[in-house]
């Protein structure tokens, strides 16, 4: 039996734990700014430094954000949830315990639709982030370092940990889950969901089992993937590694493995003997979280249309293909951009074409978000209008759009400044044809005496000369008609 055939006998079982940094103005338990990239240890106070005597006060905004998640993923939100302390020693954790939620989280039992399949979400809970360590010397890991520096700006930043059920079966599906999750979190405005900057961190629990079985075998937790691509690679690698292990009768141990992006492999991490005992107990410095009806109502009212529903609507309203709608929604803000153009008069079909084409290309090239574009959606609508009323041809329109995207000028302005308006006026085009005929009388004579093949060639040449003379602005439909009239006339 070949390896390939054997592999078909196995099915992967994947669950994802996603940590999302919430985009609140302040931290979870104090009023320090929650911002990325500040000078080390400037956004700190006695509370987030865990100084003796300090006490946490829950940021209500975090609860509001959690309630939005509750709505968006159809979680049930119990009347009360509580915080626990997770106790372990680590230098970047100021209190040497993390305040987190344990057996009474704020959100339980939700769902996310991933490409038509419902994936269960076991829970989502609030917790505080840790600081960041920089280990100097050795391999860059804490154990061999000469010394370590700690930045506590991130300590106490609010996180939601979102734990899926082990209901995914391929790397592709796991990527789809994360990208759908990101889409929803983005539109409900709770996070800027940037995997590369660490505001969204994904750990994967991977196990495999024989196809047709419903057992859950020993799972391995894979960490350190910082893009969707590396998530997919890491899961594929881990699946293959585990299949290999089973087929060579090696035992899989429950462990945490570290994805090495450069080497394309996972490594077992140094683990302590036995499993860590976090000695969870209810956090006595906080009271239970009991969101009242008005908070719940506010969360409900704040939820905009979610990506899955929007995709269905755009397909039906605009008559675009499902995959086009998917591309529009995959780039945060792009669907808003296209809808903005439609609101300014463009057709849904045209707005989609330009948005997923030239606009998206420009965004990717320049690592921009649609919100940052100098050309606003009504500008795109203006361009689309110029094309559809015949005053600009498609090819020139692409150039104009490019310039408009770059410097933010209105398309009409660019067309005027560069004299690109399409010349449709019969008199003007006719005069151009007459000029070209006069300067190329040989070609006209060749056409008159030629066979079909020569006629076609000479007509093409003359047509090209007229377009050149018009600097591309001649309306080709008018030109075609006049050219035939004058040659045959």
């Amino acid at each position: 039996m070949s390896t390939r055939e054997v592999s078909k006998a196995w099915e992967a079982v994947i669950g994802l734990e996603v940590h999302v940094e919430l985009a609140t103005a302040t931290k979870l338990f104090c009023s320090c700014a929650n911002e990325f990239g500040a000078e080390p240890n400037t956004n700190v106070c006695p509370v987030c430094l865990g100084l003796p005597g300090s006490l946490p006060v829950l940021n209500e905004r975090v609860v509001e954000f959690a309630l939005r998640l509750g709505e968006a993923f159809e979680f049930s939100v119990p009347a009360q949830s509580i915080f626990h302390r997770k106790n372990y020693f680590y230098p970047d954790m100021p209190k040497d315990y993390q305040v987190s939620q344990y057996d009474a989280p704020i959100c339980v039992d939700g769902t996310l639709i991933v490409d038509g399949t419902a994936i269960g979400i076991e829970r989502a809970h609030m917790e505080e982030d840790t600081g960041k360590s920089l280990h100097v010397g050795g391999s860059g890991r804490i154990h061999e370092a000469d010394h370590s520096l700690v930045d506590y700006n991130r300590a106490g930043v609010p996180l939601m940990e979102i734990v899926s059920r082990p209901e995914m079966h391929s790397a592709e599906q796991a990527r789809g889950y994360v990208s759908a999750l990101r889409g929803v979190l983005g539109v409900i405005g709770v996070s800027d969901v940037k995997m590369e900057e660490g505001s969204m961190r994904v750990d994967a629990n991977v196990s495999i089992r024989p196809v047709g079985s419903d057992e859950l075998r020993t799972r391995v937790e894979v960490k350190n993937m910082n893009s969707l691509r590396s998530l997919g690679r890491a899961i594929d690698y881990e699946i293959a590694r585990q299949i290999e292990m089973y087929e060579t009768d090696e035992r899989i141990v429950q462990e945490t493995r570290h994805w090495d992006e450069d080497a394309g492999v996972t490594h077992g991490m140094r683990t302590k003997e036995g499993s860590e005992d976090y000695r969870y107990f209810p956090e006595p410095d906080l009271v239970p979280v009991a969101p009242d009806d008005s908070m719940r109502a506010r969360a409900r009212a704040s939820i905009p249309e979610l990506p899955a529903a929007r995709r269905v609507r755009l397909v039906s309203e605009w008559g675009i293909a499902d995959h086009e709608a998917a591309v529009l929604l995959a780039e945060p803000g792009l669907a808003d951009y296209a809808e903005g153009a439609v609101a300014a008069g463009a057709s849904g079909h045209d707005a989609t074409n330009w948005s997923v084409g030239a606009v998206l290309g420009y965004l990717n090239e320049n690592a921009l978000a649609p919100q940052g574009l100098l050309l606003r959606p009504d500008g795109l609508a203006e361009l689309i209008g110029l094309v559809s009323d015949g005053s600009l041809n498609r090819k020139l329109a692409t150039d104009v759009l490019d310039e408009a995207l770059r410097d933010g000028k209105r398309p009409k302005q660019i067309v005027e400044a560069r004299g690109l308006a399409q010349v449709s006026d019969e008199g003007a085009v006719g005069a151009l044809v007459d000029d070209v005929f006069a300067q190329n009388s040989d070609a006209v004579a060749d056409w008159r005496g030629g066979d079909d093949k020569l006629k076609k060639k000479k007509r093409g040449f003359l047509m090209g000369e007229v377009i050149k003379a018009s600097k591309g602005s001649a309306d080709t439909a008018v030109l075609n008609r006049l050219l035939d009239e004058k040659l045959n006339g």
Binding site: G53, L55, P56, V57, D277, F281
Partner: protein, 479 residues
């Protein structure tokens, strides 16, 4: 003889004199600093006396008076602060080597409040390390002596604050009470000590021992002075999530309302095992209350006797987590090691005393996987029973009466070799902490050895007004 005359001037008298301009705050402060200078060496009530800051603060108070401003109800009243209350820029040690030299960048809410009320902090008082103990013998900086008899302990853990008031080093002091740490030393030193309802006094800036039990409260020579101080510190604090949101209903106006018709229950379960002289004072206290018009009967709180066991699981469990942060990374002591874990271990090994280590070990064990339900979980269930039994008792009574401690102050070294017998001195005080209820210890005569006896009045949550009425009656009728 009333407590007020026994100990000279009261805080209320000082504040009245300073506010009316008949005495200056500076003069009062200098007098108390003088007494500290003369007596502190024998007592060791303080870890730190902040004489210069006290004089400067007193001068500010006097300047306010001169400008026609009212400095507040504690105008010019010197106050001693337990050294587990954070004071900005002033060393705060918890009597532990691990915090030696640490100066907090912020001030505890209670300290802000007493200063805002016009009080003059004199310094930081000694305690059992991290408030763990009942004799102040667990201080890393040496024990405090009982001013009534220097061969005896002042009690603990707020032994320094109790001794400071008893020795007239300060008319008022703040302590903290986790299982009796205000009331037991108050009883041993013959002063008034109050543990308020959990959540009435902010814990922000109180260095935590056991968060669900800790509460800051007053020491004073009189019940009225204690009420004055409690009113100054109580009330909601947005910096403490466990603080009760409702405005504080002042107790000062209740103190002299009398006890006609007040229903007082003597907790029968807490009479077992107490010394005969203490029991005798308690029965005289009952007579005093009856004479004042109270209806006294027997009350039953069956779960109270299990309180001690539950407390010695819950408090160490919370402490094991609260004290994890003393790891040598950010502040306080650091003993270098080969790596971070080794540095943590060496720092904690050198920085904590034996009792603190014992409780961290107990608490770590009680929270461990596989033991949690049998220990911490079970203790929480007992706590629920204690609350239920108190609730039942308070259907028949307005307040309850117990001795504060089973014995009077013991001698140094008596119980240090036997932690369990030391723990037993808190048997009568612990149940109120578990329930979150208020209690007050009032001096009531002396024992066979001439040392003070304290009787304790308990009340349901926010029942401080009735509690103070009974306490005042006991003070007036004390032998």
């Amino acid at each position: 003889m009333s407590a007020a005359t026994r100990n000279g001037e009261t805080a209320a008298e000082i504040a009245a004199a300073v506010r009316s301009g008949t005495r200056s705050a500076r003069e009062v402060t200098d007098a108390y600093l003088g007494r500290i200078g003369a007596g502190e060496e024998a007592v060791h009530a303080f870890n730190l006396v902040t004489a210069d800051a006290a004089r400067a603060r007193a001068d500010e108070i006097d300047a306010m008076i001169a400008d026609g401003h009212d400095p507040g109800p504690l105008a010019g009243v010197p106050i001693a602060l337990k050294d587990n209350l954070c004071t900005r820029g002033v060393a705060t040690t918890c009597s532990s080597r691990i915090l030696a030299g640490w100066e907090p960048p912020y001030t505890a809410t209670v300290v802000e409040r007493v200063v805002a009320a016009g009080a003059v902090p004199l310094g930081k008082t000694n305690l059992d390390e991290f408030a763990m103990g009942s004799s102040t013998e667990n201080s890393a900086f040496g024990p405090t002596r009982n001013p009534r008899d220097p061969s005896r302990v002042p009690g603990g853990s707020s032994g320094g604050s109790a001794a400071a008031v008893a020795a007239e080093f300060a008319p008022l002091a703040l302590g903290s009470d986790t299982g009796g740490s205000i009331r037991q030393p108050a009883a041993f030193c013959g002063v008034v000590g109050v543990k308020p309802t959990y959540g009435t006094v902010s814990r922000y800036g109180l260095i935590a021992f056991a968060s669900s039990l800790d509460q800051v409260g007053p020491f004073a020579n009189t019940v009225t002075d204690a009420a004055l101080l409690l009113d100054a510190i109580a009330g909601p604090d947005p910096l403490d999530s466990t603080s009760i949101r409702a405005e504080w209903n002042p107790v000062i106006s209740a103190v002299d309302e009398g006890i006609e018709g007040l229903r007082v229950g003597v907790v029968t379960e807490l009479l077992d095992g107490i010394d005969a002289d203490v029991a005798a004072r308690l029965s005289e206290a009952v007579d005093v209350l009856r004479a004042g018009g109270a209806k006294v009967g027997d009350a039953s709180v069956p779960a109270a006797i299990h309180g001690l066991a539950a407390y010695y699981l819950i408090a160490p469990a919370e402490a094991s987590s609260n004290l994890a942060r003393y790891d040598g990374v950010r502040y306080g002591l650091r003993v270098d090691g080969v790596d971070v874990a080794d540095m943590n271990a060496k720092t904690r090994g050198a920085g904590f005393g034996a009792e603190v280590k014992r409780r961290i070990m107990l608490g770590t064990y009680a929270l461990s996987a596989g033991y949690y339900d049998a220990y911490y979980g079970q203790a929480q269930r007992v706590r629920t029973l204690v609350i239920r039994d108190f609730d039942a008792a308070y259907r028949d009574f307005d307040v309850l009466l117990t001795p504060t401690t089973p014995t009077t102050a013991f001698e140094f070294g008596d119980k240090t070799g036997d932690p369990l017998s030391m723990y037993l001195s808190d048997v009568c005080t612990i149940p109120t902490n578990l329930a979150g209820h208020p209690a007050i210890s009032v001096p009531f005569g002396t024992g066979a050895n001439g040392m003070p006896v304290g009787v304790q009045v308990l009340a349901p949550a926010l029942g401080e007004r009735a509690m103070f009425r009974a306490a005042r009656a006991l003070e007036l009728g004390a032998p």
